[in-house]
């Protein structure tokens, strides 16, 4: 039961993009087509899951026993950036079709603050390993939901005749604001 609560809270109530403002670069950058948005979401889910497990192990078996928690930021970002490279190489070898689908998005993920943000939040919340896994999957799901809805709306937004200053990013941000209002309706659900 508590795992379901963690997932619902991460996807709807504390949506990572629309309520916590993490991962906005890909949210604005790769959301012009639903297809690319789906690919990016897949890549984020994949890396967020692995990154959370590995940083959880590092935090609990290396940083805490040696009392060097202040190295957290440096250690985590190094793990994430090398992990992304490794995932890229491994995927290329064992599953070329998956690599084709996710390939171009993987390098972009290193600078996606959603990944580092979720790993740091996991540590702050003192989760057990299994809770951390559900937390990561829930947040990746929330990212995917927001990104794909947003991309769907943006595809239609291109067809509308807007005032010159509002075209492109400002109009997209207004849409994001309205989506964020809609997601506020979930507050109090958990």
């Amino acid at each position: 039961m508590e795992y379901i609560v963690i997932i619902i809270s991460a996807v709807f109530v504390n949506n990572i993009v629309l309520a916590q403002f993490l991962g906005l670069c890909p949210f604005v950058g790769v959301s012009s087509k639903v297809k690319t948005a789906t690919g990016m979401s897949g890549a984020v889910l994949f890396v967020m899951f692995i990154a959370t497990v590995i940083t959880w192990l590092i935090q609990n078996y290396i940083l805490l026993p040696f009392k060097i928690e202040y190295m957290q930021t440096i250690a985590f970002i190094l793990v994430i950036s090398s992990l992304v490279q490794m995932v890229e190489i491994i995927l290329k070898k064992i599953s070329p079709s998956l690599f084709q689908a996710l390939g171009v998005f993987l390098p972009l993920i290193t600078t996606n603050c959603a990944i580092l943000g979720v790993t740091l939040l996991t540590v702050q919340n003192d989760f057990k390993l299994l809770e951390a896994v559900f937390f990561a999957i829930g947040h990746a799901g929330g990212f995917a939901l927001a990104l794909i809805i947003f991309a769907g709306i943006r595809e239609h937004l291109d067809l509308i005749n807007l005032p010159k200053g509002m075209r492109g990013v400002p109009a997209a941000l207004v849409v994001a604001g309205i989506l964020s209002l809609a997601f506020m309706g979930f507050a109090g659900l958990v």
Binding site: L18, M71, L121, V169, G177
Partner: protein
């Protein structure tokens, strides 16, 4: 390009937030008040200037292939310094900004300037560029923070100027998106002559 141009381009012409759209996460996440925006902006400016200095100094000894990981380590070291210093001297602001201080590491603005400017230019120019871009970022965050604070809680820099309820939505998440959208549109209107 003369020195003044390198410094001043970050404010309007190449403003990191309004024009380049870099570092959107902290821009939207911490600007619930003008003070928070300013604090975040200055913290980022410090990291930006220091990492530009170091990157500019070591650019000739770092092999091209490992330059990105090296930059990340340099930036992460300065972020850790900022994080610990702020925790010690301004604990209230530190807890307000919370997660977004360690996340300066993945701010595309810092990485972008290291890669695009500091790794190709002299020390003096890199300092000016970091300072200009950082202060432009701080300017944008303070502006957005002030707009949200005025509309949302009827105060500015923490000083209440009217006894009434503000539009709460501007302090909450949607207000960040809407505020930034209209500020960008306004900026385009002003610069588009």
């Amino acid at each position: 390009m003369n020195k003044w141009k390198i410094f001043s381009k970050g404010f309007i012409k190449e403003n990191p937030v309004f024009v380049l759209l870099l570092g959107l996460c902290p821009t939207l996440g911490v600007t619930t008040s003008a003070i928070n925006g300013l604090g975040m902006g200055l913290a980022t400016t410090f990291v930006l200037v220091m990492s530009n200095i170091v990157v500019s100094l070591v650019k000739s000894v770092i092999p091209n292939k490992v330059r990105i990981p090296s930059f990340i380590v340099i930036i992460a070291s300065f972020v850790t310094i900022v994080d610990l210093v702020m925790k010690a001297y301004v604990p209230a602001l530190h807890s307000q900004l919370g997660l977004f201080i360690p996340l300066i590491v993945v701010n595309c603005l810092v990485m972008g300037r290291a890669e695009a400017f500091a790794s190709k230019n002299s020390l003096g120019d890199s300092i000016l560029d970091g300072l200009g871009m950082g202060l432009g970022f701080a300017f944008a965050l303070t502006l957005l923070g002030a707009v949200r604070e005025i509309l949302g809680s009827l105060s500015i820099f923490g000083i209440q100027f009217a006894e009434a309820d503000g539009m709460l939505v501007f302090v909450l998440a949607p207000g960040a998106f809407l505020g930034l959208a209209y500020l960008i549109a306004l900026m385009r209107k002003i610069t588009d002559k």
